[in-house]
């Protein structure tokens, strides 16, 4: 009881409440005290000094020193210390997710397996202009599309957490069943609701030969250990 009485007293004296190990009844008393204290007129407005002070702090951390965006080591260390907690929070918030809010890596890459080989994934006749069809070639599964007569291929695995994408919509797009990210058929990210960055889908090299469509894919599926 001592702890909660002191807690309420701190709140009423506008002091930072001291910590204590609260029981469940303590917690509900604390909750009520907070609600009543917050109902005092004017208590929800921040101090002007706080608002300007935090603005200054953010400016010094967010606006890069001109030019060249170099950050001194000392400043980097200060920053890291200052936001250690914040970083963990951003990590924890990832599940709540939002669209492309966070700088994405400038990747748009072609998947080039080593060793790789050309694998037939469809007959050319089965891929008329403007169509999309899924394919599977050993380790790779993805989507083929013919645009203006040319065939192209893109990975069908979401770059977020590896769920298999599904073809949907008109115009066609690749949608992730796990968190709803959507990619264009050239691999570009269309929308997602993740606070972190989301890379575009890797593309695959495609060729047509002898009436077949081939993609450049890993030469063989993973050999089991012990095999030569």
């Amino acid at each position: 009881m001592r702890g909660i009485a002191r807690y309420v007293d701190d709140l009423l004296r506008s002091r930072r409440p001291r910590r204590f190990r609260a029981s469940e009844p303590d917690a509900s008393v604390a909750q009520t005290a907070i609600m009543l204290r917050a109902a005092r007129p004017g208590s929800g407005a921040p101090r002007e000094e706080f608002v300007t002070g935090l603005h200054r702090r953010l400016a010094s951390e967010l606006d890069p020193p001109a030019p060249g965006r170099t950050v001194s080591r000392r400043k980097l260390v200060l920053r890291t210390a200052g936001v250690a907690a914040g970083t963990a929070v951003a990590g924890a918030a990832i599940d709540h997710g939002l669209t492309g809010l966070i700088a994405a890596p400038a990747a748009d890459s072609t998947l080039t397996p080593q060793p790789g080989t050309w694998l037939t994934v469809a007959a050319s006749a089965d891929l008329p202009d403007g169509t999309v069809r899924p394919f599977s070639a050993g380790a790779i599964s993805g989507f083929l599309e013919r645009v203006n007569g040319r065939a192209r291929a893109v990975s069908g695995i979401c770059t977020h957490q590896g769920c298999k994408l599904a073809l949907a919509g008109q115009p066609a797009r690749l949608v992730c069943p796990c968190h709803g990210a959507a990619f264009a058929l050239d691999g570009a990210v269309l929308t997602h609701r993740l606070p972190g960055s989301l890379s575009p889908l890797p593309r695959l090299a495609v060729r047509e030969t002898g009436g077949t469509v081939q993609v450049y894919a890993p030469a063989a599926t993973q050999s089991s250990p012990g095999q030569p």
Partner: protein, 190 residues
Amino acid sequence: MRFVRATSPGRCEPPGAPVPAARLRAVTADAYPDWDAVYRDNIGLVYRLMFAKVGNRADAEDLTTEVFLAVLRPLRLPASAGEVRAYLFATARTVLARYWTRTLGQPVTTLNEDPAEVFSAPQLESAAPQRAERILAALPARYRRILQLRFLDACSVAEAAQALGISVTNAKVLQHRALRRAAEIAAAME
């Protein structure tokens, strides 16, 4: 039955204490061009939200700082106000949960509200006083009076005791009982 509205000026507050104007403003623009716009548009909202959840300025300022530091650095702008606010809200929820874990070891308050509702200005302005008023209205008169004096009117124990015509010791006991009763009522209202 008549009792002082929760939104009336506090009788024990220094006369003329200014009630700061709300820093809220409606977001008409669809997108925030830079972090400065995000900050200016949301600092009041986030602080108010945090104050409503922790009930004291020192902690509300620290938690608000934590939220903005975590959110602004990796943010890619321009981004829509809705998206940025949802991200702010999600981060605030995590920050608050960790605060309770390290202070009282209990999730005393949480951010479970619908972010869209929380960030609509009228709702944010009025939720706490309305709820407080409902709970106070359900209390016996003396319980209501002591809580009104202490929490809403910023009276000291001595001032409250004098207003009620009781000793300071009795005022403390009365406040404690009133608060426990109010907590029961609040729980029943959930």
